[in-house]
């Protein structure tokens, strides 16, 4: 009887220690790799016909020229989409999104933002996301879905014309695609900076605990 209790306790403590399960880690880093390829090749594609009065430096783009960048973009697209679909399916099916990201209350976001800015936000329990994290992670999932949909809309404006129309037409979909990219890049800057400030979180995303 007591032996069972011990093993139960042991199992519980091991379970509690795992902050990021293996599937989350695998999908996270695959996504990071695919995202970087998509963004760098996307910047090269942008340079062929810029929407704004600037171009990205060739040193931070991928593909060398428009044709090369398109090959990278439309190859990494598969990795990003398959990986993203697995993430959404498992995240919804296991209830992870609901458990980890909900609810998001305005009061919670405001108080946690204040705490973060005054350096009072606790990072003792990394299995629980604070409200700022919840908002950012839920938000970036939405942006991720939007960038894929707007990407499909400008890739196939005839075959997927109803999707393109949903974005307000071909030209509008290009802007949506660009601003989603900008949002993701901004997220990545904050995300990486915070991961470096709280090294335990980076460790958890690499080895799980």
């Amino acid at each position: 009887m007591s032996a069972v209790t011990v093993s139960d306790e042991h199992a519980a403590s091991t379970k509690a220690k795992v902050i990021q399960p293996a599937w989350v880690r695998a999908l996270h880093w695959t996504n990071a790799f695919a995202m970087v390829l998509m963004i760098m090749s996307g910047w090269q594609i942008y340079n062929a016909s810029p929407l704004f009065d600037f171009r990205f430096s060739p040193s931070i783009t991928l593909g060398g020229w428009l044709g090369g960048a398109l090959l990278w973009h439309f190859a990494a697209m598969w990795l990003l989409m398959v990986n993203g679909l697995i993430y959404l399916t498992v995240g919804l099916a296991t209830g992870r999104f609901r458990k980890k990201l909900l609810p998001i209350t305005p009061e919670g976001v405001i108080s946690d933002t204040k705490a973060a800015l005054t350096g009072k936000l606790s990072h003792d329990d990394l299995t629980k996301y604070n409200y700022v994290q919840k908002l950012l992670y839920a938000g970036i999932i939405v942006v991720g879905i939007l960038i894929v949909l707007s990407g499909l809309a400008i890739w196939k404006p005839v075959q997927l014309q109803y999707l393109t129309a949903l974005f307000g037409g071909y030209e509008a979909a290009r802007y949506v695609h660009f601003f989603c990219m900008a949002g993701i890049v901004a997220f990545m800057v904050v995300h990486v900076a915070l991961a470096l400030l709280v090294p335990k979180s980076l460790r958890a995303m690499i080895i799980g605990r």
Partner: protein
């Protein structure tokens, strides 16, 4: 320098020779693309995976691009029409676009020009412009989408290509209709048969109700609203119905061959 002089064949224009030599050299950006690919290929060797010596990122990307050709052919719906627009939406001026300046655009003499028809067709007779103008024509206002990302709406009038393929008795079970153009480097482009038979794919003779100007491909352009702009050949000289993939000007340089929109 003396040795160089000996190597030159008398009477050869050195400037032209150099220009030709430069043309055969890959441009800097393309070399960067290849060298980047090679180093990524080397990286995969370090992982100990079973990869051949010839493996490179470039080769992998080419394979994925071929896979994407297949996926696009699969999702191509022959009944989906490209959106059409009112005449008020037409982009003015409609941009001239080519890999050369307008001054270098081909000047084709409409009187002596004949459309050559080759390959898997019953009637291989060439067509004069006058004869082509007799065919029933339709007008469409559609969006031209460039591979670079910009787009422009134009008004195009001409004969649906599928009607012409019927007239010449083309074997529509063949895989491609391959076009050759009068551009200085011989602009070729293969069009898959499903797209060639699409109702909006057109042998265009007019832009905005006027005879197709030189800038947009006089005497004939193939307007394909379901493809990106570079798959809309201008200054067309001949078409060939074929089962062979014969490549194209941009396709050979790495643009995805299906490039459907």
């Amino acid at each position: 320098m003396g040795r160089m002089r000996n190597l030159l064949i008398p009477g050869v224009d050195k400037t032209l020779l150099i220009r030709d030599a430069v043309k055969t050299m890959p441009d800097l950006t393309r070399r960067r693309f290849i060298s980047g690919g090679a180093s990524l290929g080397a990286l995969t060797l370090l992982t100990g995976c079973d990869v051949t010596d010839s493996f490179s990122a470039e080769e992998m990307l080419k394979q994925v691009s071929k896979f994407n050709d297949g996926v696009q052919a699969l999702i191509f719906n022959p009944h989906a029409m490209a959106p059409t627009f009112p005449e008020s939406a037409i982009t003015k001026p409609f941009p001239f676009n080519a890999y050369y300046d307008l001054e270098e655009a081909p000047t084709v003499d409409g009187k002596s020009w004949k459309l050559e028809v080759r390959g898997l067709v019953e009637n291989k007779k060439s067509w004069t412009l006058e004869e082509l103008y007799q065919l029933p024509q339709v007008k469409q206002v559609t969006r031209h989408i460039c591979v670079e990302g910009w787009s422009a709406i134009g008004s195009w009038t001409g004969t649906p290509l599928r009607d012409f393929l019927k007239v010449i008795g083309a074997d529509t079970r063949a895989k491609y209709v391959w076009f050759q153009c009068a551009d200085k480097d011989g602009y070729n482009s293969p069009l898959d048969m499903a797209t060639a038979l699409h109702a909006q794919t057109q042998m265009t003779f007019k832009f905005g109700d006027e005879i197709l100007p030189r800038a947009y491909g006089f005497p004939m352009k193939i307007r394909v609203p379901t493809k990106l702009g570079f798959k809309n050949p201008k200054y067309v000289m001949s078409m060939e119905v074929t089962n062979d993939y014969k490549g194209g000007f941009w396709e050979d340089q790495g643009y995805n061959s299906f490039s459907g929109s």
